[in-house]
């Protein structure tokens, strides 16, 4: 079992057992941050309990992952690094897009900005160092690769990944009843769309009339 699966399994166990004193948990690649109230639970006792659960986590079965399909438009305007990334990886743009859109991604964790997924699952052929100079502003919805990871920027923010395309779906919508779309452990596939469909879905998203496919 890989370390991130153990992290998420440990979080799941803590949640299931409603461990007293635990206030909140934040999973990342290879760590689980556990916020606790030291006035409710003793530090050493909690550590011992978490160590036991961490062992159990290696064999814990978690509920089945959700599967989401996100439309993504790969073109030079919405994915300004598409050509440069293809060149750097010695691939044609079309091969790059085919490889990226053909993979299934696993959301390791959400972080950096609200709702931003760090995902694994990109073909090894797409491993690429981060940009030398991070962009000051990356538009929300940008689908990007860096290192072995893929991420989707959730709000306009600085960013150091290569921008390959954009999804019209909102990953973070502070006015929605459920502001965050993705959760740790979700499985994500991209459906390649053309610019016309991107604009169409973007208009439906703005009107509150589009929901991505979730299984």
């Amino acid at each position: 079992m890989d370390v991130n699966t153990r992290v998420r399994a440990l979080e799941y166990l803590i949640d299931q057992k409603a461990v007293p004193g635990v206030v909140e948990t934040v999973p990342t690649y290879r760590a689980l941050l556990v916020y606790y109230d030291p006035l409710i639970v003793d530090y050493d006792a909690l550590c011992a309990q978490l160590a036991t659960l961490a062992e159990q986590a290696t064999t814990t079965a978690m509920p089945p992952a959700r599967e989401l399909e996100l439309p993504c438009c790969y073109d030079g305007e919405l994915g300004p690094d598409l050509e440069a990334a293809a060149k750097r990886l010695t691939l044609s743009v079309d091969e790059l897009v085919r490889l990226h859109a053909g993979a299934e991604y696993l959301v390791y964790f959400i972080g950096f900005t609200p709702g931003l997924p760090y995902m694994t699952g990109a073909p090894e052929r797409l491993t690429i160092p981060r940009l030398d100079t991070p962009r000051v502003k990356v538009p929300a919805g940008s689908v990007a690769i860096g290192g072995i990871q893929c991420c989707i920027y959730s709000v306009d923010s600085p960013g150091g990944f290569w921008l390959l395309g954009r999804t019209p779906v909102r990953l973070y919508d502070p006015s929605a009843a459920e502001p965050i779309l993705l959760r740790p452990g979700d499985r994500v596939r991209f459906r390649r769309i053309e610019r016309r469909e991107f604009d169409d879905i973007a208009a439906r998203v703005a009107a509150g009339d589009f929901r991505p496919v979730i299984r």
Partner: protein, 312 residues
């Protein structure tokens, strides 16, 4: 209703904070100086976590549209009602037409204005706290603007009381922040850790609700300054490649990839959050057991503050 005549540079609605959302990248928000926020609410008869205003450096000017009670705490500010001096750390009864003006902080950076009944904005994910970068909560996810109107919850008129002088925090001067070392102390050289604990740092003006940025002797890393991203606790002292510490506060990013040398104890977080640019900060390491003992003491001290009745 309360009308906003002048919001001040950054005034937001805050409550006890948004729990359980950091795994989705949403920080807790809430007041930087929890004790002052709680005392403001107690002065107007609210529960400790009722929604109130947090202002920054300069307070707002507010017009009262119906009789209400308010209290101002936190940073040391001049305060007037209809241009006549009024008392901070005290329950104030106001009448329709009154204008309250909260001035510039003489010491401290953040102040609180609580209203009997609390500020009635719609909760988002269980909280009325404003998360500015995420445009979430509070007044439409933003700081107050001129001509905003704040609706208040219904509440009985509270007794008039005052926080005794001895129970009021003192801001300003050199401060010492108690820290627990870790989680990545091993990513610094021994000399780097010694620099951190033995030096004086100055608060930079770029500090905000996300983090207090400090400047001083460079803290040396042992094996680079990047880690595989992990979660960031309240008070975490992040040290990026430039060797300058940043103490992360209530609007912090939920995860990050810079080394964290230590964590400022929660009971000292308000002190760095209230420090003005140029104010000097030192760090003192404590072990976990001492930190928990000090936390108990600090909570007990806040719980035992006895508000004094004022004859009306």
């Amino acid at each position: 209703m309360i009308g906003v005549v002048d919001p001040g540079p950054q005034t937001t609605v805050q409550d006890a904070g948004r729990a359980g959302q950091m795994r989705y990248g949403i920080p807790p928000s809430g007041p930087v100086d929890r004790a002052s926020f709680v005392l403001a609410n107690r002065l107007v008869g609210n529960h400790d976590g009722a929604a109130a205003l947090e202002f920054t450096v300069m307070g707002p000017r507010l017009s009262v549209e119906a009789p209400c009670s308010i209290a101002v705490t936190g940073a040391d500010v001049p305060l007037t009602v209809n241009d006549a001096p009024a008392l901070a750390w005290t329950t104030l009864r106001l009448a329709a037409g009154d204008v309250v003006r909260v001035g510039a902080a003489r010491a401290g950076v953040r102040g609180y204005v609580a209203f009997a009944g609390g500020i009635d904005v719609p909760p988002v994910l269980g909280s009325r706290a404003t998360y500015l970068r995420g445009r979430m909560g509070g007044m439409h996810g933003r700081a107050l603007a001129r001509d905003d109107r704040l609706r208040l919850g219904a509440a009985p008129t509270p007794r008039r009381r005052v926080v005794p002088d001895a129970a009021r925090p003192r801001w300003g001067g050199d401060i010492v922040l108690r820290v627990v070392l870790g989680p990545q102390t091993d990513r610094f050289t021994e000399a780097g850790v010694a620099t951190f604990l033995d030096s004086t740092y100055e608060v930079l003006p770029q500090s905000d609700r996300m983090g207090a940025r400090l400047n001083g002797p460079r803290i040396g890393h042992a094996r680079g300054h990047d880690i595989i991203s992990d979660g960031i606790a309240l008070g975490a002292v992040q040290v990026p490649g430039d060797g300058q510490p940043i103490v992360l506060l209530v609007d912090r990013q939920s995860t990050g990839g810079y080394t964290k040398i230590a964590t400022v104890c929660s009971f000292d977080v308000a002190r760095v959050g209230q420090a003005k640019p140029g104010q000097r900060v030192r760090f003192a390491a404590v072990d976990i057991a001492s930190a928990h003992r000090l936390l108990r003491d600090s909570n007990a001290a806040l719980a035992s503050v006895e508000l004094q009745e004022i004859a009306s």
